[in-house]
């Protein structure tokens, strides 16, 4: 496969705890993906516009502050509004188990809690992104 997976990793909202986001970004890069890390305090608008501009396959949101429902909902809404709802949305952080099904119902493809191995995230993207390419007739 010569096409490289492009992923945007973002920290939405006010929370500055970026250790997880950075470790994941680096692991994806080490696995041969192209990673854009947007830095801290991004609004959903900034995240979606960067994702479209950078033509990414997937967006990963890292949220530890408890505001995950709000941010995932907003990012999903803006993706749909801008005709980019096929960009995979995944995430992680401090997210209670009972919120995971709610996030999946919103269309979040995967939620990775604390203690997830970075390999698991790599495997997920290597499986899900090519499926998306096929669906688009790109692969």
């Amino acid at each position: 496969m010569d096409r490289r997976i492009r992923v945007l990793i973002a920290k939405p909202g006010l929370d500055g705890h970026d250790r997880g986001a950075k470790v994941v970004a680096r692991a994806l890069r080490d696995a041969g993906m192209e990673v854009i890390y947007t830095g801290l305090r991004q609004t959903p608008e900034m995240i979606v516009s960067a994702a479209i501009q950078e033509d990414v396959d997937a967006i990963g949101l890292s949220i530890l502050s408890g505001a995950h429902m709000h941010y995932f909902r907003e990012v999903k809404r803006l993706l749909e509004e801008q005709g980019a709802s096929d960009i995979l949305l995944f995430g992680g952080g401090i997210i209670p188990d009972e919120d995971v099904p709610k996030l999946k119902a919103l269309g979040v493809a995967a939620v990775f809690g604390p203690g997830t191995s970075t390999q698991e995230i790599v495997d997920f993207l290597k499986r899900a992104v090519p499926e998306r390419w096929q669906a688009q007739g790109l692969a």
């Binding site: 990793i9 006010l14 890390y37 408890g66 401090i94 009972e98 809690g113 604390p114």
Partner: protein
């Protein structure tokens, strides 16, 4: 060579005059009565470096504890961090914690407050009351401390960039209730340097941020003499992925940076240094953590005395709060966290901490519930009252390993401190991205070790058979946002607009002219200016800070 009986007669006795021994049995379960302290004399060995490196509790270099009688007289303060939702909800939790035997309050604020936004600001959406209590004006602060005697409790507030404003609100509550500022005890975290290094809750660029901190150094001792106006924090550095040695080195480097900035302003080191306090993480590596606390006290004492010329012994004492490592808690098999927290708390106590927060077992999932927070407090009480580790001071002193490790951590930390000094100090190192790079390396290396199973985490990468368990989760009521917005609207409606305008103008003038901002913050708080209004004035004067997105 100073002898133990001299220390007993002088320092220990003096300490008991201030605070007698606790009226509990300082005897083992076999009825052996340990002495307050053991030294090489007690086992008939020679330790030629004893005085220089270890010394006695309550005496320079304080390796064995800052107070003469330590836990024989007074246990560490059991101070549980709490805050969620509205001021009313947190006030209720505070009262329960005090009733459960807690000895000090500790306030967690929500993210909008930490970032200096009012609860009704667009950027606050979805975050209000989530990981702490929302405080946007004096009205919230009055409710938060309603029915609590501020002269009797000590209050610690975890607030950094807006620390001056939040502290001013607390002092305004005290003033309105008729309490004497001279009798108030507590701590504001107010450590902005570690925000640039690790936690990232900064608003203004480093230089004006440090200026605001030094305003409290200058104003605090004269007005609220018993208040710790800074808690130099390693906790967040460690949680962001540093090693224990980096945490030790960078925290002390931050402390020295504040001392230098205050001396540069012309303040007398012995006037402000006694009110500097610290805050360390306590992680899983048991002996490394104990050594870290002992090395921290020794480095601080030596440097304060010899490099910064402090003459008052209180300026040499590193007094510290500790908190068990949130980052070490697992979402998998969460009940295992009770064991982790107990072991970490024991390390903090054997390291001689002065104050401790123990994490609740469900913190990798959500905010603690009342039950999980109580178990965490009980964990401290079990260590304090049942294990006997408080019978004698610094019981691990003289362990070949602990003493060697204390020396080794001091050596490695000093090498890093010197390296930062060569770079031109902490602010220069921040601007050059030094800390970001080092943290990214250390946390990535750790993650790789875990994934290669060179480091085992029980329940995560080994022993993963899970018994299904439903952990009750504390969720924040979405009503908080509405309640806060209504209260803010009422505050803005009912206050005296002229007084608000004048107070904000005074704050702006002080910021522009480089005067001390604290008196103006107090006036703003009393006038019911909102947190956002105060911070906006400073945002205009100082500008804001964006860090480079480095991976």
């Amino acid at each position: 060579m100073r002898k133990k009986h001299d220390w007993l007669r002088e320092t220990y006795q003096k300490s008991l005059e201030k605070m007698p021994e606790r009226p509990v049995a300082h005897r083992t379960l076999s009825d052996i009565a340990p002495e307050p302290l053991y030294t090489p004399e007690d086992i008939g060995v020679l330790d030629p470096e004893y005085e220089e490196k270890r010394g006695y509790p309550g005496e320079y270099p304080y390796t064995r504890g800052v107070y003469g009688s330590m836990y024989r007289s007074k246990l560490w303060t059991m101070r549980m961090f709490a805050g969620f939702g509205t001021a009313e909800q947190t006030n209720e939790r505070f009262k329960k914690l005090l009733k459960a035997g807690q000895t000090g309050l500790s306030v967690a604020f929500d993210l909008p407050t930490l970032m200096g936004y009012d609860s009704d600001h667009p950027l606050a959406k979805g975050e209000v009351g989530k990981c702490g209590v929302a405080v946007s004006s004096l009205a919230d602060m009055e409710i938060l401390f309603d029915g609590i005697n501020l002269e009797e409790v000590t209050t610690s507030m975890t607030i950094n960039s807006p620390a001056n404003a939040i502290w001013a609100m607390y002092l305004a509550v005290a003033k309105k209730k008729g309490y004497d500022w001279k009798k108030l005890g507590g701590t504001i975290q107010n450590d902005i340097l570690k925000e640039f290094i690790a936690q990232k809750e900064f608003i203004f660029p480093p230089e004006p941020s440090v200026k605001l901190v030094i305003d409290t150094f200058e104003w605090g001792p004269k007005n609220v003499p018993k208040w710790n106006f800074i808690s130099v924090s390693g906790y967040h550095i460690r949680e962001a992925g540093s090693t224990a040695v980096q945490e030790l080195a960078w925290t002390l480097a931050d402390g020295f940076a504040y001392v230098e900035a205050a001396i540069q302003r012309g303040l007398d080191v012995d006037e402000f240094a006694p009110r500097i306090s610290f805050f360390f993480d306590v992680h899983n590596d048991f002996f490394e953590e104990i050594a870290k606390f002992r090395a921290a006290r020794r480095i601080w004492a030596k440097e304060m005395r010899h490099r910064y010329g402090a003459k008052n012994p209180q300026s040499w004492m590193l007094r510290t709060h500790a908190q068990t490592a949130g980052v070490s808690l697992t979402a998998q098999q969460p009940l295992n966290n009770i064991a982790r927290v107990a072991i970490q708390a024991l390390a903090a106590v054997l390291g001689g901490t002065n104050s401790l927060h123990t994490d609740a077992y469900d913190e990798a999932l959500a905010l603690p519930t009342e039950e999980s927070a109580t178990i965490a407090l009980r964990t401290q009480q079990i260590i304090a009252y049942e294990t006997g580790v408080t019978h004698t001071i610094d019981p691990l002193a003289g362990s070949y390993y602990v003493e060697w490790l204390t020396d080794e951590m001091e050596r490695q930390a000093m090498a890093i401190i010197e390296e930062i000094r060569r770079m031109g100090g902490v602010v220069r190192a921040i601007e050059e991205g030094y800390f970001l790079r080092e943290l990214a390396e250390a946390s990535y290396r750790y993650q790789q070790e875990v994934e290669r199973k060179e480091r085992i985490i029980v329940g995560v990468n080994a022993f993963t058979d899970e018994i299904p368990l439903k952990v009750p989760i504390q969720l924040v009521d979405p009503e908080v946002e509405r309640v806060q917005a209504e209260r803010l609207a009422r505050v803005r409606r009912e206050r005296d607009p002229k007084r608000v305008e004048e107070a904000l103008a005074g704050l702006r003038r002080a910021a522009v002219e480089g005067q001390n901002t604290m008196p103006h913050f107090v006036e703003c708080a009393l006038a019911y200016c909102t947190l956002g209004e105060m911070m906006d004035v400073l945002r205009e004067v100082y500008g804001t800070y964006q860090e480079p997105a480095y991976v």
